[in-house]
Structures are given as C-alpha cells and as structure tokens.
Point group: C2
Chain length 451, copies 2
C-alpha cells in the first residue's frame, strides 16, 4: 500500500532532477519516477520548462503521460502542447475520457484540433465532437459521455453481461442508468443491488425512479449546487427530450466549487482573475493596476471634493483629522453588508423575503451598530481632543455613514445578481471606492449643517 506522503517534492529533489535533465540522464528519471503517482509528477513538472517536461514525459509509459497531461492546468497545457505534433497529441487523447479529451481539444488552435480529431478512435471522436458543441460553463460542457446504461426490460444477468462489455471503456462508474427504447432516462439501478440480487430479476424491479437529473444547458454552478444539496456522487445529464446524453461526477464539481470560491476571493481583493503569485512580474502588475486605478480615481475625486470645503477646513483644521475614521468605517460596514448578501444568495433554498423585509432588517442592524459606534466615538473624541461640538458632528456623520453604507452594501449585490453579474464584485474595490466617496459627502454635509 502506498501512503500518500511517500513522494514529497523537496527543493533537493528538484535540483537533483534538474541535474538529471541537464545531463539527459534517462535512467535516473525513469528510476526516480517509477511508482510515483502521476498527480505528483504533474506538480514536479511545473518546476521545469516545456522542453524538459516533454523529455521527461517521453520517457514515461503512455498511460502515465496521458494522466499527467490531463492533470495540467489549462493555461500551462495550452502552451505546453505547442511543442507536440498532432500525432503525439492524438496518442494521448486516445487514452482520456471524453470530457477530458474535449477540454484538451478546446484549448488547441482549430487547425491542430482538427488534425488531432482525425487521429483518434472513431467512437471517442464522435463523443468528443458531440461534447465540443457545449459551452464549458454548462452541464453539457462538464459531462462525460462514458456511462453504463441498460434497458428496463433486461434481466440482472443481461445487465451484468452488458456491464462487462461497457466497463472496458468506463473507468469509474457509480451508477447504472436505466433508459427506455428511445434512450429516455427512467431512473437507475445501483451496482450493489445488481450484485446482491437474484439473477433472473428484471431491471424494472430494481429501478429507482427518484433520480435527480440536470439538463445540458444548466450553468455549472447550478449543477454544483444541486449535487451538493442532494449529496450526489454522479448526476445524469439529459437533453431537452429527456434522453440520457452524459453524466457528471462529483470530482468535476469539486473543481467548479473551488474555482467559484477563488473567483469570489479575487473579485473581493481587486485582482483580475487567473493570476497567481508565481506568474511573471509583468502579469502580476497588469492584474492589479486596473483595480488600483479605480481607487486612485476615487481618491482624486475625494481630493477635488474636499477642495470645495477649503474654507471650512481652513477655519477648523481638525475637521480633516476625522476623514480616515469616517471612510474606514464606511468601507468596513459596506463590505460586511455585501458579504452577507452574497453568502445568502449563494446558499441553497433561500426564500426571498422581499426587498423591503430585507432592507428593514439591515436598517435595524445598522441603527444599532451606528448607535454603539457613535457613542463610543463621541466619548473617545471628547476625551482625546476636548472639542465637544466637533465630536458631536463626527458622531452624527459616523451614524449616517454606517446606515447609508449598510444600505448601499446590501442593495448593490442584489442589483448585480439581478442583472447576471457575480455579486461578489460588490465586496471589492469598486464598491469600497463608492462608499468612500459617499462617506466623505455625508461627513461634509453634516459639517455644513451642524458646525
């Protein structure tokens, strides 16, 4: 039994491996990677350039090579496969499941992918051509064609016979799907039911009808939500006629969930999607600049706005002291509010209480928080600065900022969601900038009125 910890990628091993690559030491490479899980080899290869990686892969058996190429992330694979001929790619694709094959072909230039398609087995080719029709973000783009299906009038023996035949192509199967003569999905039988049942029983007797299925055009995040909610390890995909056309397994959905979380986090932290710390300096710079510019633009607007109150600032300089306090609080409150809305939008089975119910509750929370903070700030400022009147003005402004930033933070993600944008944007620099400006406006309005 191989414990997972057997292969650990250390700096020492990487350096030794680099040496072997430089010396074209095939024996070392073959020896050191024998029995290593392809997933671990994939990670090792991220440390080397394309030529070195290809040299390593060419030494390894074809099935390991296919597993490694399958495991690469999309961007890396795209540039890596440039040094492969179409024939070499076909060899690899032939060993992949239809969904992975379609993903890989999608990344190739159209000319190469046509050539690769010609080089693979006819059955896989047909499956892949069918899958290539779907957008990658819908159920059709996630599904694989490999599945085991049986007809409802068959006996258990016939089933097992068919499974023996089909199992050669289907690497992992969880469920056996039952269809009628028109391929319409009727339900499923479980493998364990087949194993423990009388050989003469009919499939129709073992049929479980309460199967949750998804349609080809359902967005991938919805598929993920359904599989999570109903605790499914595999879900059948049907077309508009109810015919079984593929299946999605939970491991594909785990990737969707992880990507979604990562995308949300990047939106919240103001980084263009798909950049990682180990990308180039230039790519990292480009990914950050646009969002920083939004902040800069807001900052310059703030400066211009404060310029309008130069007279007030000259007469009471201390007004300026509290700008950071007002802005930081507005920003924090806004992010808290939007984050809670994003969370409840994402949670399954959320019953819309109506906008007014929601806002009135948010308002209560904001009034409470605003009250506590204002009292604390009033006391603190009075003690620190001894200016009772200014402390009062700051507290009133703070109270209004908390209330308004809460409402803006709540409404913005709802609007974004309504129009089909990712509501997590509302916790990012864009909204923070708007809240900053809003806070400043409320503060100086209060100053104008009360001071």
């Amino acid at each position: 039994m191989k414990a997972f910890a057997e292969f650990e990628l250390t700096k020492e091993f990487r350096d030794r491996f680099q040496e072997a690559l430089d010396q074209r030491d095939r024996a070392f490479i073959e020896e050191s990677l024998r029995d290593v899980n392809p997933v671990d080899i994939t990670e090792l290869l991220y440390e080397f350039n394309a030529e070195e990686s290809k040299f390593t892969l060419d030494i390894l058996p074809l099935d390991v090579r296919a597993a490694i190429i399958k495991g690469l992330d999309s961007d890396t694979r795209k540039s890596f496969l440039k040094i492969y001929t179409a024939a070499e790619i076909s060899q690899v694709v032939n060993l992949l499941d239809s969904d992975d094959a379609a993903d890989l072909l999608n990344e190739l230039p159209i000319k190469v992918s046509e050539e690769v398609l010609l080089g693979i087995d006819a059955e896989l080719r047909n499956q892949v051509i069918d899958l290539l029709r779907y957008d990658e973000n819908v159920a059709g783009g996630l599904m694989a064609k490999e599945l085991i299906k049986v007809r409802s009038h068959w006996t258990v023996v016939q089933c097992v016979e068919e499974i023996r035949k089909q199992a050669e192509q289907v690497e992992k199967f969880y469920t056996i799907f039952v269809v009628d003569e028109n391929d319409k999905l009727l339900g499923r039988v479980s493998l364990q039911d087949l194993v423990i049942s009388d050989a003469s029983k009919r499939v129709a007797d073992l049929l479980e009808e309460d199967v949750v299925s998804v349609e080809t055009y359902m967005p991938d995040t919805e598929v993920a939500g359904i599989m999570k909610k109903y605790d499914l390890e595999a879900v059948p995909v049907v077309n508009v006629h109810g015919q079984l056309v593929g299946r999605i397994t939970i491991d594909d959905v785990v990737d969707v969930i992880t990507e979604q979380a990562e995308e949300d986090r990047q939106l919240m932290s103001g980084i263009t999607e798909d950049v990682e710390e180990d990308d180039t300096v230039w790519k990292n710079t480009r990914a950050r600049l646009p969002w920083l510019l939004i902040g800069i633009f807001g900052g310059m607007l703030s400066a211009r706005f404060m310029g309008l109150f130069e007279k007030e600032l000259v007469s009471v300089t201390a007004i300026a002291f509290f700008v950071p306090l007002i802005q930081a609080t507005g920003g924090n409150v806004g992010i808290q509010s939007s984050s809670l809305v994003v969370q409840s939008l994402a949670s399954p089975g959320y019953v819309d209480e109506g906008l007014w119910n929601r806002l009135s509750k948010v308002l209560f929370v904001a009034l409470l928080n605003g009250f506590f903070l204002s009292v604390i700030v009033f006391g603190g400022n009075w003690l620190l600065f001894g200016n009772k009147q200014l402390s009062f003005v700051v507290s009133v402004a703070l109270f209004s900022v908390v209330v308004f930033a809460s409402l803006v933070g709540t409404i913005t993600p709802l609007i974004l969601d309504r129009f089909g944008f990712n509501p997590a944007v509302a916790s990012g620099p864009f909204i923070t900038t708007i809240n900053d400006l809003l806070g400043l406006t409320m503060y100086f309005l209060t100053v104008m009125i009360l001071l």
Copy 2:
C-alpha cells in the same frame, strides 16, 4: 423519473403550509410532502418554528424523518432536538450512518447523549463511541465506520458473498478495501473488477496496491486537499498501526471545502464566523461590532496622528485633500498582496522559494505598480490642482505607500500561517487598519521632508 425542479419552495406554498400547520391539517401535510425529496423538506422546515417542524416530522415516515434531521445544519438541529425525548432521538439515530450519528450525538448535552446511546443498536453504538473520541476537525471526526472490507486470500465468490452480507448496513460503497489478518490495509479491489472477473480468481490477483490513505489525526482541510489532488471519491482512514478504521467520502469533503471558503470570506469581510443574514438583528449586530471597533480605533489613532501635523495642515490645507487617496491605495494594495499569498499557500504542491525570492518579486511588482500610479497621479493632480510641488509630494508618498503596503500584505499572511492562524485574516479589517495607519505615516513623513 423525478426532475429536481419538481419541488420549488414558493412563498405561496409556505403560506399555505403555515395555514395547514395552524389548523393541524395532517392530511394536507402528508399529501403535499409525499414524494418530496427530504432535502427539500429540510429547507421548508427552516421556515417554521420547532414545534411546527416536529409536528410535521411526526407525520412523515421514520426514514424520511431521519434524513431530514440529518440534513439540518448543526446549530438548528441543536436547538430543534431540545423538544425531542431521548427515545425519539434514538429512533432517528438508529437509521443514520455512524459518522452522521456521531455528529448528532456531539451536539447533544452529555446527559441526553448518554441516554440516546443506550437506546440504539449495539453495533452502531460501538461504532459511534469509537468515533466520538476524535475531534471533529480531523480525519477521525470525518470518517464513517461503515465500509466493505475483504481479506486478500479470499476468492471472488467469497467476496461477493461477503458483500451481500455487509451491503445491508453500508448504503453507498465505492470501493472494497482489502486487509490482512490483522486488519492492516493492503489496498482495494473495485466492484466492477469483481463483477467482471472470473469467480474463482483470488482477491490478491485483483488487488490494487497504490491506494492513497490518510491517518486518523490528519486535519480535515488536508484530507480535502488530498482527495481533491488525487481525484478520490473515497479515502480509507488508518490508525497509527496502519489498520483500516474507517473511510471518508467525497461528499463530506465537499462540505469541508465549502466551509473553508465561507470562513475565508467572512474573515476577509470582517464578520465574526457563523452569522447569516437571516439570524437575528442582535446576533448580526454583535457579529459586526468587534471588527468595526478595530476600524474605529484605527480611525481615532489616525485623527490623533494628523493632529500632530496641525501646523503643516494650517499652512497648506490641501495636504488634507490627499489623505483618502493615500489610504485607499494602501488598503487596496495590501489586500491584493495578502490575497495572492493566501491563494498560493492554499494551492497544493507549492514549493517554497524562500522568503527573499518571494519578497524580491513582490517588490518588483510594487515598484512597477507604484511607478505607473505615481506618474498618473502626478499628472492628474497637476492638471486638477495646478500645484506642482504638492503633486510631486503626493506622488512620492503614494509610491512609498504602494511598496510598503505590498510588503506588509505579503509578510503578514506568511507569519499568520507559520503560527497556525488562518492567513485569510490578513485580508480583513485588521490589516486594512494597520495599512491605513502606515499609509498616513508615510504620507506625512514625505510632507515633512519634501514640502
């Protein structure tokens, strides 16, 4: 076949259901919930109070009742089960898998849980008692005891016989684990191999040895990482002696991944964990206040700090105009940097390049971003305000703030991670506050030196 969309929780249905509950209309409740997936009923019940929910559940068949109670979130279940007697709880627990049973018992007051334990079947009781020993955040706390294990010297026929026997307790099984006479894990055989193999073959011939396993004390997030990395639908859990003691399935791990993402998001947005939009106003207020207070405290420190430069502010009021610009940029840069570090810490197979390599790269990105932003701000300010000298000072300060906030944003999550804290804290209000203060300091230092 039941399409998932068949049951949609509408406001109309909820109101009609409330009416039925008020009138104790058993017939309507039974009729309307027949054939509805327990997962959907669970969601419906979140809309009603504990007594109403129990009234509904008591009408439903025991297995549906068990599935619904299993599906409740931990907090709700904890308070919901208070109106159940120990005997009633035992009835439900008897129908659960050992891992779910242990989770439920963990939530009960010790006195009740002892009583419930006495009321359940002896075998389940022993399994649950074993599981209760583990912390809920390690592999032992995630695993279930139900699994199918066979000995390596058995034949395929013996295996199938054993599976028939064991399958009664094991609802879903993915893999059949192979152990030696001391229960030491040797590997696995796949059910499809058994189905398609000669009846007289030995398990040892079908044995797949390259099985990834985890040990009972491994943290749940690590288990999730391993299952994701190696694309596993189930992983065996072994104790320190290498003996097979349980198994973890991918659906449990999906929950771990989702919770982790949610926890990260809450830390980033300054909300105490475990609050949801539909919790009470008071709970929502409490969850937000501590983080807002950190911001308030930072704001008051900022005010105090700016007070030290009152003389400079009086002579050139415009200095104050650019405080928001400086602070917003510092905050944004800091969050971007920490978010990238958090992401790379979370990604599997990350090779530590050493702190200095990392920082020198961050420094380059910061220098580039700082340069672009300073040039833009210098031009913009000169145009808008016509004060070349002040524009220059602001740009120099902005440049230093970008560089310093990048470094702080990079180092902080690394330090937090080193000391075992969740590094996502570093993208939250705590660090934003520190960066605000840092930005202000750098700005006024620059003003002092250059103006």
